[in-house]
C-alpha cells in the first residue's frame, strides 16, 4: 500500500537532513506506529505519505515514495486527497470552515462532486463515526476532542484507503483520547491502513500491528506489536518513549516539608509589598503594595496570624456574564513546596480557576490570600504566574536574555546575577541570544518559567505543560517543577497527563461542575483514587 524507498530529505539548503535513507513498506490494512523523540523525523514520514513532502514543503528530495500504486513525486496532493486522509496535531489550525457540516463537506466540494452526493456523504460519515451530534455546530465552540473528531470526519468523507495521523492525541483530554482510539479502531476494522506518529502510547496498544522507532532521521528499530508491547518499560524509556501501561506507575514526586519555607517564602512574598505590611501586627492597615511594573496599588492588609496558611482560597466563585456560573464556593489551603494537580473533565472549571487565581478573570465572591493578606485581582498578577499551554504567546522580546530582563519598570528589573542563575538552572545559557520564536516548544516553555522566576513569582500554574512532549522533555518539566518546589514555590498543574501527575504532583484537587469534588494527597495508597479520574 505504501512503499518508501531510500528517501532522503531536508527542508532547506541550510537545515540539516531530516530524513536519511528511509525505507519502509506498509501493507494494506496495517496499523503502523511511528515513534521516537521530538525531532526524530516521524512527522516528516507522515508528510511523505500525504504528499506534503515534496509538494508543499519544498526541499532537497531523493528516493521514491509510492502510495496506492502512484508515484508521489509526480502525483499532485489533490490527486492524493481521495487516497490519503490526514489528521494533524493542532485542532485549531486545520479547519477551513466556520461550521462543522461545511468542514466535513469541504474536501468533497474541492473535488467537484455533485451536491446531492456531498449531502449524502456528509450524513453517512457522521453516522459511520457516530458523531451526528456534532453536525451543524460552530467549530470555534467545540472542545479540542470534538474538533479532532471533526477533523477525522472531514478526512473520512473522502473515503481514503490510508489515514495518516500526526500526534492526534497531544491536545486531547483522557476521555477524548478514549473516543479517538474507538474511532481509529473502527477505521482499522473497515480495512483502512493507519499510520500514526505519536509520543503517548498507552491508548494505542490495542490498535497497532507494527512499531517503527526513529532516531535523527533514520529508522533505528522495527518490532511487531506483540514484541514491542511485552518489552520491559525501561527499554522503551531508554528510547525516549512515554509509558505504555499507566497502571504500573506509582507516585514519585518528592515530599517537601513546608515548614522549612515558612520564613523564606514569607520574605519572598513580602518582596511584593512593603515589608511593614506583612510584619504589621495591629489593626487593618492600608499600604501600598508594589507590584512589579504597574502602578502602585492599595491592598487591605490584615494582621498576620501566627500560623496563617500560605495560600488560602476561601469561598471562591466566578462567572462569565450574568448567568454562566463556573466556580461555586471553592475553598482550599496550600503550603509552599506543594504541587497540586487540578483535575476534572471538560467544563469542570479548571481553566477558569487558573485564570481567576492569576487575576486574569475577576472573582464574583470569595477571598484569595497569601499569608493572610487578601489579594485583589490586580495584585495577584506578579506573585501568581500562569505558564500557558502555548508558551510562545508569553514571549515578547528578541532574545531569551532580554525576555528575563523585561519588566514593568526599572525597579522591578532583575539583577544580572539572578538572570545568570536562572538561565543556568533551566539549561538555557546556550540559547541566551536566540530569538524566542526560534526555540523548540520545550525551550519556549522553560523561558516562560524563567520569566516567572526572574520576577519572584511564588505560585506557578501550569496549563497542560506536557502536551506533545516526549519522555525526555516530560522528565525535564518534572525536574524544573521539583527545583521550583525545593525553592518553596507552590505549583498548580492542570493536566490530562497521568504520567506527569504521578511524577510531579503531591496532591490532587478534583473539580466537578465548578465544585471541589475531592482533594487528597497523591500517595501510593491513593493511587487508585487518581486512576479512577482517568478511567
Amino acid at each position: 500500500m505504501v512503499k518508501i524507498e531510500n528517501v532522503t530529505f531536508n527542508y532547506g539548503e541550510t537545515s540539516e537532513q531530516c530524513l536519511r535513507g528511509i525505507s519502509l513498506r506498509i501493507k494494506k490494512g496495517e496499523c503502523v506506529l511511528l515513534c521516537g523523540e521530538s525531532g526524530c523525523g516521524k512527522t516528516s514520514v507522515t508528510r511523505l505519505v500525504n504528499g506534503l513532502i515534496p509538494h508543499f514543503y519544498e526541499g532537497e528530495f531523493s528516493g521514491e515514495v509510492v502510495v496506492a500504486g502512484r508515484d508521489v513525486s509526480v502525483t499532485t496532493p489533490d490527486a492524493l486527497a481521495g487516497i490519503v486522509g490526514s489528521v494533524f496535531q493542532n485542532p485549531r489550525s486545520q479547519f477551513f470552515s466556520l461550521d462543522t457540516t461545511g468542514e466535513i463537506a469541504f474536501g468533497l466540494e474541492n473535488l467537484g462532486l455533485p451536491s446531492a452526493y456531498i449531502r449524502k456523504r456528509v450524513r453517512e460519515t457522521a453516522v459511520a463515526l457516530g458523531i451526528e451530534r456534532l453536525l451543524g455546530r460552530d467549530i470555534f465552540a467545540l472542545s479540542g476532542g470534538e474538533k479532532q473528531l471533526v477533523a477525522i470526519a472531514s478526512a473520512y468523507a473522502l473515503a481514503p484507503k490510508i489515514f495518516v495521523f500526526d500526534e492526534p492525541s497531544s491536545n486531547l483530554d483522557w476521555d477524548a483520547v478514549v473516543e479517538l482510539a474507538g474511532i481509529m479502531l473502527r477505521l482499522k476494522q473497515e480495512g483502512r491502513t493507519l499510520i500514526v506518529a505519536e509520543h503517548r502510547l498507552y491508548w494505542l496498544s490495542g490498535l497497532i500491528d507494527r512499531v517503527v522507532c526513529m532516531e535523527s532521521g533514520q529508522i533505528k528499530h522495527e518490532w511487531p506489536a506483540d514484541e514491542f508491547l511485552t518489552m520491559p518499560e525501561s527499554e522503551r524509556r531508554g528510547l525516549g518513549l512515554r509509558v505504555l501501561n499507566p497502571g504500573e506507575l506509582y507516585p514519585t514526586a518528592s515530599i517537601v516539608d513546608p515548614g522549612g519555607f515558612r520564613s523564606e517564602a514569607s520574605a519572598a512574598v513580602s518582596g511584593f509589598f512593603h515589608p511593614e505590611m506583612v510584619i504589621a501586627n495591629q489593626d487593618v492597615l492600608h499600604h501600598e503594595a508594589v507590584i512589579p511594573g504597574s502602578n502602585a496599588l492599595r491592598v487591605d492588609a490584615k494582621p498576620q496570624e501566627q500560623a496563617a496558611p500560605y495560600l488560602k482560597v476561601a469561598g471562591l466563585s466566578a462567572q462569565y456574564g450574568r448567568r454562566n456560573h463556573v466556580l461555586h464556593d471553592i475553598s482550599f489551603e496550600v503550603s509552599p513546596g506543594e504541587a497540586v494537580a487540578i483535575l476534572g473533565g471538560n467544563g469542570a472549571g479548571k481553566t477558569t480557576m487558573a485564570r481567576t487565581l492569576c487575576g486574569l478573570h475577576s472573582k464574583s465572591s470569595g477571598e484569595i490570600s497569601l499569608y493572610g493578606i487578601n489579594l485583589p485581582a490586580k495584585a495577584r498578577a506578579g506573585p501568581f504566574y500562569l505558564v500557558m499551554q502555548e508558551s510562545g504567546y508569553q514571549l515578547f522580546t528578541d532574545s531569551v536574555e532580554n525576555e528575563l530582563l523585561l519588566s514593568k519598570n526599572r525597579r522591578s528589573r532583575p539583577a544580572n546575577e539572578k538572570v545568570e542563575d536562572i538561565l543556568e538552572s533551566l539549561s538555557l545559557t546556550d540559547f541566551r541570544e536566540r530569538h524566542p520564536m526560534s526555540l523548540s516548544g520545550g525551550q519556549k516553555q522553560r523561558t516562560a518559567i524563567g520569566t516567572a522566576m526572574a520576577h519572584n513569582a511564588q505560585i506557578l500554574i501550569f496549563d497542560e505543560p506536557t502536551s506533545g512532549l516526549d519522555y525526555r522533555n516530560m522528565q525535564r518539566v518534572v525536574a524544573v517543577i521539583e527545583r521550583l518546589r525545593a525553592e518553596g514555590k507552590t505549583i498548580f498543574i492542570i493536566t490530562h497527563d497521568y504520567e506527569l501527575l504521578l511524577a510531579a504532583c503531591t496532591r490532587a484537587l478534583i473539580l466537578e461542575d465548578g465544585n471541589v469534588k475531592s482533594d487528597f494527597p497523591v500517595t501510593c495508597e491513593n493511587v487508585n483514587k487518581v486512576r479512577e479520574v482517568f478511567s
Binding site: 496532493p77 477551513f96 469541504f106 467537484g112 451536491s115 510562545g392 508569553q394 520576577h455
Partner: protein, 222 residues
C-alpha cells in the same frame, strides 16, 4: 427565515457600497440602514441586527452631542464618526452575510462568478482568520497582563504576526491535503440556485442603488 443565494448577497454588498458613496445625504443612509435591518430580520440574524442598530444609534447620539459644542475636539470626533458611519451599512450587512453563509458555499459562488482562484482562496482564508486572530489577540493580551506589561504595538503585533504566520502555514498544509488545489470545477454542498427571494432582494437593492446615484432622498423634495 429566508435563505438567499450567496451570489445575491455579494451583489447586495456591492450595491450597499454604491448607495453609501453615491449619496452624501444622511437620509439616504438612514433609508439604506433601515433596508439592511429589514433584510437581516428576514434572514433571521437577530443578534447582528440588535448589535448593528445599537452601535449605529450610539454613533448617531454622540454625533448629535458633538454638534452642540463647537470646538476642535468635537470636530475631530465628528469626523471620525462620519468615517465609521460610512462603513456601518456595509459592515452591518457583512456580519449577517457571514452568519448565514458557509465558507464552502461562498467559495463556490465566487467561482461561479468567474472570480479567479488566486483571489477567491486568499479572500476566504482572510474571512476564516478573523475568529482565529481574535483568539490569538486575547491570549497575547492575557500574557502581557500576567507580566504587568502595558499594551504596545511592538509587543502585541510581533508575536501575533509570528503566531498567525505559523497557523496560516498549518492551515494551508491541511487544506492542500484536502484537495484545495484541485484543478476541476468546485461544487458545493448546497446547490446554488436563484429563487424568487433572490430576485426580490436584488431588485429592491438595485432600485435603491439607482435612486442613490440619481441623488437619493433630496430628489423627493424637489
Amino acid at each position: 427565515m429566508v435563505r438567499f443565494d450567496p451570489r445575491t448577497k455579494l451583489l447586495v454588498l456591492v450595491l450597499i457600497n454604491v448607495v453609501i458613496f453615491a449619496s452624501p445625504d444622511i437620509r439616504t443612509e438612514w433609508l439604506c440602514m433601515g433596508m439592511v435591518a429589514v433584510l437581516l430580520l428576514v434572514m433571521g440574524c437577530l443578534r447582528q441586527l440588535w448589535y448593528g442598530l445599537l452601535i449605529y444609534a450610539v454613533l448617531m447620539a454622540v454625533f448629535y452631542l458633538c454638534t452642540l459644542a463647537d470646538n476642535f475636539f468635537t470636530a475631530f470626533v465628528s469626523m471620525t464618526i462620519i468615517c465609521i458611519r460610512k462603513i456601518m451599512p456595509t459592515v452591518f450587512f457583512a456580519s449577517g452575510l457571514m452568519a448565514t453563509t458557509k465558507v464552502g458555499d461562498l467559495v463556490s459562488a465566487m467561482q461561479k462568478l468567474h472570480i479567479p482562484k488566486v483571489i477567491v482562496i486568499p479572500f476566504t482564508v482572510t474571512l476564516r482568520f478573523f475568529p482565529t486572530a481574535k483568539e490569538e489577540f486575547a491570549a497575547i493580551r492575557d500574557a502581557a497582563r500576567l507580566r504587568g506589561l502595558r499594551f504596545s504595538m511592538e509587543r502585541t503585533l510581533v508575536p501575533m504576526m509570528l503566531r498567525c504566520a505559523n497557523i496560516a502555514e498549518e492551515l494551508s498544509a491541511a487544506s492542500v491535503t484536502r484537495g484545495i488545489e484541485s484543478i476541476g470545477k468546485r461544487t458545493s454542498m448546497r446547490e446554488l440556485k436563484f429563487g424568487l427571494p433572490d430576485a426580490v432582494m436584488a431588485a429592491v437593492f438595485l432600485a435603491l442603488g439607482i435612486f442613490a446615484v440619481m441623488g437619493g432622498v433630496p430628489l423627493l423634495y424637489g
